[in-house]
Symmetry: C2
Subunit: 355 residues, 2 copies
Amino acid sequence: MEERKKTRAVKVGSLIIGGGFPVSVQTMWKKPLAKDEIASTADSLERLSRMGCDLMRFAVPDEETAELLGALSRRTAMPLVADIHFDHRLALRCLDFPVAKIRINPGNIGDERKVREVVAKAAGQGAALRIGVNEGSLPKGLENESDTALAMVKAAEMEMDSLARLDFKDVVFSLKSSRVDTMVRANSLFSKAYDFALHIGVTEAGPLIPGIVKNAIGISELLRQGIGDTLRVSLTSSPDDEVLAGNEILRAVGCRNLGINIISCPRCGRTSFNVEKFLEDVSEFIQSIRIPLTIAVMGCVVNGPGEAKKADIGITGAGKNAIIFRNGEIIKKVPYSDAVNEFRSEVLRLCEQRS
Amino acid sequence: MEERKKTRAVKVGSLIIGGGFPVSVQTMWKKPLAKDEIASTADSLERLSRMGCDLMRFAVPDEETAELLGALSRRTAMPLVADIHFDHRLALRCLDFPVAKIRINPGNIGDERKVREVVAKAAGQGAALRIGVNEGSLPKGLENESDTALAMVKAAEMEMDSLARLDFKDVVFSLKSSRVDTMVRANSLFSKAYDFALHIGVTEAGPLIPGIVKNAIGISELLRQGIGDTLRVSLTSSPDDEVLAGNEILRAVGCRNLGINIISCPRCGRTSFNVEKFLEDVSEFIQSIRIPLTIAVMGCVVNGPGEAKKADIGITGAGKNAIIFRNGEIIKKVPYSDAVNEFRSEVLRLCEQRS
């Protein structure tokens, strides 16, 4: 693990990105905002916050959505980001509320003057900007460069002048590609040359399995190089899945250890305990816990308390009963029907002791 | 990417592990073998083979299962592995058929004489062995060493003498842990000292999302160091998911490029096309294709043909129609109701041209 690259701190609502602050996890809302769903959307943001989501982005394709985002921003503590393509006037409108951050893609906003207008207004409103460069939508003139990663860095550089001239500092950059190696290389090149905070992730990475594989490999490689201030795991799946995967990557590389690390056996012909079903039954409970704990859910005595003795707490099947153990010592034997409740109680007891 | 470490080739039925052969993907059967399910299990192995599964392992906890595994081995072309704990006589029985490989965990077979008996019979039958060391079940005397990765290497070394004395060469080693860093370090240490073929993976890695994250990070790091001859992504999920994740990891690090790479947008408030549903509808079709292709499934015109112009073939929503494109050029506009069929036809056409 290399030392973390020092970047400029950017205030995004109540969150700080960069400047040595913890790497934050963000995701994007997947549906159009609807007028009669503002309250339920705010509830979802509250739930996602408990799961480890620090920031939520919304596509703003029209005026109506901009107004709804304004209404939502007054009902949630989570910093919100407006994602703007093509029409810079939508960015200007979102800055009236203001939202915490505007994401623009210089490749499709067009005219440099329009970008400057957005920058000036963000400065006046204390909002942050993300300049989001994508391999697939580079500005004209850079589209056909042979070194794609370098072209992505150049696209980012094209925006820096305007920002500097307006003395605008609250900016986060991203350089995304659907190809892991291109994404990693573009960010490494950028990070060597500039100290702007970086939002990292593989874009358009595919459905759950390939999407997590690409993001875990690309994001972990950058984090190990000390690069990355905020991340999004882009998946053709739910925001929940993106947030879970993002926090799991941070935990796996030792960047941030919030919540529960699960050890669980994959099941096999020996298993007497339905590990998968048990994990489903406790998953919402597990996701709501922010105290770092390692729990083990094992199928049988072969890998029961023994293989999981380093877990803080664990459960395994043993004939007609489930055994709950702590640090490899059996503390309780319960019928399967009580397993979920008993396990929850023991985990909560442990959380109380640790908090 | 470092040069691939040269290991000894091991014949495992029709498959060769190590010796510079492609890194193979394996998984483990999750249910007990049942007498009336031998034919349907053989069908599942055939399906998994088309998805990129090279080897299947079965837990053999008793005599009856050993006999059923023998029956199955006569009905499938896929090499089968018997996973034996505690009772070495089950290994001896499986070697009568024989199965392609026996996996034993020296930590729980007990007596060294029993391990030697298994090795001698495997040699006579032309079967391979895997010595599977697990952090959680190290042999007595090594359990409490402070350097766990080193203790795992020592556990593997304890078996090497017997193997050498019997001049047994067809052996694959594995050194697994549920902790990514311990697993990576144990394999790096082992690989520097020995040229045995290595089976890699994070064990008891948890359910789908955390399990894929841990395995993608750990396995990709080893592959990039040139280490690993066969892999298993251990998940509390289906064998299908393990195989898909394994092949995806190989593709992401550029080790093996079989089948379809999916680029797909994560959906957002702009999306007019149900990307997730479309991907579900074509997933079995996509998994059956072994020709390397990149396909793009995008939600809207913002990232439609443009962002996906490097894909071999793609589809995106545009108002009431779906647009199918090749290399960024629109080739067809079809109503949503025909999208799945039209897309399949175009992919098959492309496969024919490439094969």
